[in-house]
Symmetry: C2
Subunit: 240 residues, 2 copies
């Protein structure tokens, strides 16, 4: 019997280079809200999402591609961009057939770090596309890193909860010698039936709820409402 | 009413410099087994424990001070040193009145990093001296960082469990806007009544149990068996 592939969870971008991610699948997780928005836009028919790490690049690429530019800081649309970072802004009748150029801080940074570290395959994960991530990992049978975007490099609960939700469904098919993964699964098992209440304890909830984003955050912990797999290819995230 | 001081938990030495630890108390946590051994040696009458970050320094300082040199790699005493890293090696009839010169990898590194980062007060924490740490933090009423030594910079469960045990007892007296602390307390609340069983799931248990150290590890998660406060002063850890 062939050895099972390994699965690890990385709790902050600062911890990425402890691990050898080459020849592996890296799942970028930014539950509040970048990866939830990416899944939603693609599910609703966006042709592609281009993740960029600065506002200037977002504007440039938006002009070049004719795409919708989007990004927020502190819950407000960044001046010079057209839209924000809420999944609710990207229904089918708006985003279908369009390119979304999205600038975020934590998630986009980690995605580029994973590429630079030699990851073979980069996908994005969030509760809205939990099932698609699980099915992809089970089908590929390769080493996996669940990479949490965190907040300014600080551990956050919501990304770990998503890692735990993935682990619950795939653990029998992987070798897991990783305390971060054990913790994430433990946390998820404890709170999977009260996620909308539990996330109200997180620091991120307190930062975003003041901008009236509660409904957004509840959507972001609801599984399988936008069940596609965003797969990175040559600068774009497309449905894999 | 004066604002409560803040409490944060740092899950890996790699994450230390995200935080401003100056003018604060840093509790160094290395449950398996450095900080458990430090508390035990001091509780049993060691005059001081000198934490050093290399085997060469350990030998040099041992010769200079006439102290007991100690350190392990992979569960075995390091050649050139006299003793290992087990709390069971330091009963009163051996260690009383002596200096212990201890070299460890994860805990000692983090202790020196905290000093270099300007921490005002550095103490060490472990289940054997849980009560002493709690009482000290409650008495000082200053900002606190619970700093987990981790394993080669990777998150570990046992250090987080200890952070959670501290938080459970001090949380009403601190402002805690820190997901790492919420996670640690959550984990501890879930497992405080089955710690000896739960820690058998950790990666560190699997590394150390193969060397016959099970009884050591159970001791290291038993509260208040060596209830003193190791306080760093001019290169030494002494009873505070």
């Amino acid at each position: 019997m062939a050895a099972k592939p390994q699965l690890h969870t990385i709790l902050s971008p600062r911890l990425l280079d402890i691990y050898d991610v080459s020849n592996s699948i890296v799942v970028i997780i930014d539950v509040f809200r970048a990866t939830s928005t990416i899944a939603t836009a693609l599910y609703n028919g966006a042709t592609r999402v281009i993740p960029v790490d600065s506002v200037d690049k977002c504007i440039q690429i938006g002009q070049h591609t004719g795409g919708v530019t989007a990004g927020e800081r502190d819950g407000k649309i960044i001046p010079g961009l057209a839209h924000g970072n809420s999944p609710a802004e990207y229904p089918r009748d708006f985003i279908e057939g369009k390119t979304l150029v999205l600038t975020t801080t934590n998630g986009t940074k980690l995605l580029h770090m994973a590429l630079q570290s030699g990851a073979e395959t980069v996908v994005t994960g969030s509760f809205p596309n939990l099932g698609a991530v699980v099915n992809f990992l089970l089908a590929k049978n390769q080493n996996v890193f669940l990479a949490c975007s965190a907040w300014k490099d600080r551990f956050n609960l919501e990304d770990s909860l998503f890692a735990g939700a993935v682990i619950e469904q795939v653990k029998d098919h992987f070798t897991i010698h990783c305390d971060s993964s054990l913790m994430a699964e433990n946390l998820y098992q404890q709170h999977k039936n009260d996620l909308p209440e539990f996330i109200q304890k997180t620091t991120h909830w307190h930062r975003l709820a003041q901008y009236g984003l509660e409904a957004d955050l509840i959507y972001c912990v609801t599984p399988n409402q936008a069940n596609v797999l965003p797969l990175y290819r040559n600068g774009d995230l497309v449905v894999g």
